[in-house]
Structure formats: C-alpha cells, structure tokens
Symmetry: none
Subunit: 155 residues, 2 copies
DNA sequence: TCAATTCCCATGGTATCCCATAGGAACCCA
DNA sequence: TGGGTTCCTATGGGATACCATGGGAATTGA
C-alpha cells in the first residue's frame, strides 16, 4: 500500500488557497476520508495532515485513558482541540487557516512532505532548516552508534 | 465518524446568545440528539457539551456503581444534577445560562473546544491558560506511552 | 403588565463553487 | 524519431452560498 512520498512546494493564492500535490490527493482518495484531517505537530513548526490512517493513530493514543477523566480531557484538548477537519475543493485545493498560519509561519508558499501514512505542511525555509538539522543529527547518531557499539552502550 | 474537532471563539450578543460553530452543529445533527446536553466539568472551569455520545459516556460511568447504593446516588446527583438540556434556536445559537456563567466565568466571549465525542465551553482567557497546561501534560503522557510500548512513532 | 424568551428576518464578511488559462508532460501516429 | 495533440496540474478570478451576528416582533410566563 503506497502512502505519501516525496515533497512538493506550491504557492498560496490571494484567497489563502493552495493546491494539494496531485500524488497526495490520489492517496487521500484511496484512503476514503472526506476532507483533510490536520493537527498541529507538538514537536515542530509543522502540521500533520492525512486521512483515516492518521485519525486512527490519534484515536489510538487518546484511548489509553478513560473518558471523562482529567487525563483524558487534557489529552483530548491537546489532540482534538488542536486539530482541524479541512475541506478540499473541487480543484484539489485546501485553505490555510489562521491556526495553521500561526503554527507554521506560512506566508506565501507551502511545502508538502510525504511521510507514508501522513504528510506534513511546512513553511519552505523552516523545512529546509529542519531537514538539514535532522540529517546532521541522523549522521551524528549513526556514527555514535558505531563507536558506542564497541563499548556495548545503548543509545 | 469524525467527531468534534478544532476550536472556535464566538461573541455573545446582548441577549446572551452565542452561535454554536457550524461544524459542531453538523456533528450534533448526525448524532441525532434533540438540543444540547450540557454538564459542568468537575475538573475545570468548563462545561462539557454534546449529544447522545456524551450522554452514553456519562451513563456508562454511573453504571459502574450499583444502583440504589450511596455511591451511585452521590454520583447521580453530581452528574445529572449539574446537567442541563439546552435548546438550539433556528439559527444554531444557544443561550448561556446563569449556571454556565458561574461555572466558567464567561462574560462576552465563548471558546468552543472539540474533544471528539464531546466539546467544551470555556471563557477564552481561561482556556488559553488551561491549554498550555494540557499540552505540557499531553506531551508527557505521549512520550511515556511511546517508551512503554517501546515502539517509536515516526515523528 | 413587564420581563424574559423565542421566532423571524437583515447584513457583512468569508468561504466555497464553478469556470478559465497557461505550462508541461505524456502520448500518439506518421 | 519528431512534431503535434491531448491530458493533467497548478493557479487565477467572478459569482454564489454559508455563517456569525444584530435586532425587531411575537410569544410566553410570572
């Protein structure tokens, strides 16, 4: 089952609309979700987006606590309160809401990054920085692993 | 079966009415409940609101205690005594009752927060404070989940 | 009778629908 | 192989529908 792969950068128009990359759209059609489920990432200045697969992942996390309990309420506010159910228009576009703007810093361009079961929405420059940092950290972790494995220390 | 998602802030008018966000209204229509079931949250300065799904959760809770037992009676009073069944007018508005005002501190604006099977009604400033705390707790809970399952989610 | 509630309609701003166009890639056929 | 044609995609813009909000009129209840 092919998910969201590769990354694309598209332009916002005057009304705040942006085309969702066509390959992502066809994944969403297969997924069957009506619209586009979005949630602000708690880790970085990006928004996670997807369909039923992403929603199932989020539901799974919130179900570990009993409903109506303080823990569940806190989790539900952080997860569902920070989510949006955006509509996709007939031409395959979404509108960037103010909450997404605030969280990502998006102004006139949007980068879509495929991550298999979901994709992320970034401000292009922030994404470049994040990717460079991620690659640097990955390299560091790999080389550390190599030297640490000789000493038998887990990461 | 998408539930209540995202959050909205609307203004009270001179008569104490406020529009229920349209996306929430369509969820309520699907739910089939006549009106809006409201109950003051025991944890925080918010009111839980919803339809049959919320009612079912509350019933489930109270049924964990044997009927006619003192525990059940106490819980029933706490749950159903603090409940209201508000009506929704033809334009999709509700009126903020005095009990809701007292419990939430709402004056001229209302924040509606989606929590999937229910939504909460907040005074906007109180909500901002609570959300910051909820996000902290959620991050802690999620990272605990992750290490407990020893299965790293792709970020 | 007065106050509070409920119903109904008006309005401004925003989002959504629909259609148009340009550029590029794929395709087709000689 | 090469030139033309067709399709797809991203983007732009006008027209329309929806939504939050305000306020008057009718109704209810004490």
């Amino acid at each position: 089952m092919a998910g969201f792969v590769s990354h694309f950068t598209n332009r916002l128009d005057a009304k705040g609309r942006v085309s969702i990359p066509a390959p992502f759209r066809s994944v969403l059609v297969r997924d069957g979700f009506e619209g586009l489920y979005c949630i602000a990432s708690p880790h970085c200045a990006a928004v996670d987006a997807g369909g039923n697969d992403l929603l199932a992942e989020i539901n799974k996390r919130s179900e570990t606590f009993a409903k109506l309990s303080p823990d569940h309420d806190a989790l539900a506010i952080a997860l569902f309160g920070a989510s949006e159910n955006l509509r996709i228009d007939g031409d395959g576009r979404m509108t960037i809401s103010d909450t997404i703007r605030d969280h990502t810093g998006i102004t006139d361009q949007v980068t879509f990054v495929g991550m298999n079961y979901k994709f992320q929405i970034w401000e292009p420059e922030k994404f470049r920085e994040f990717r460079a940092e991620a690659q640097r950290r990955a390299l560091a972790m790999l080389s550390e692993q190599r030297s640490a494995s000789s000493q038998g220390e887990p990461v």
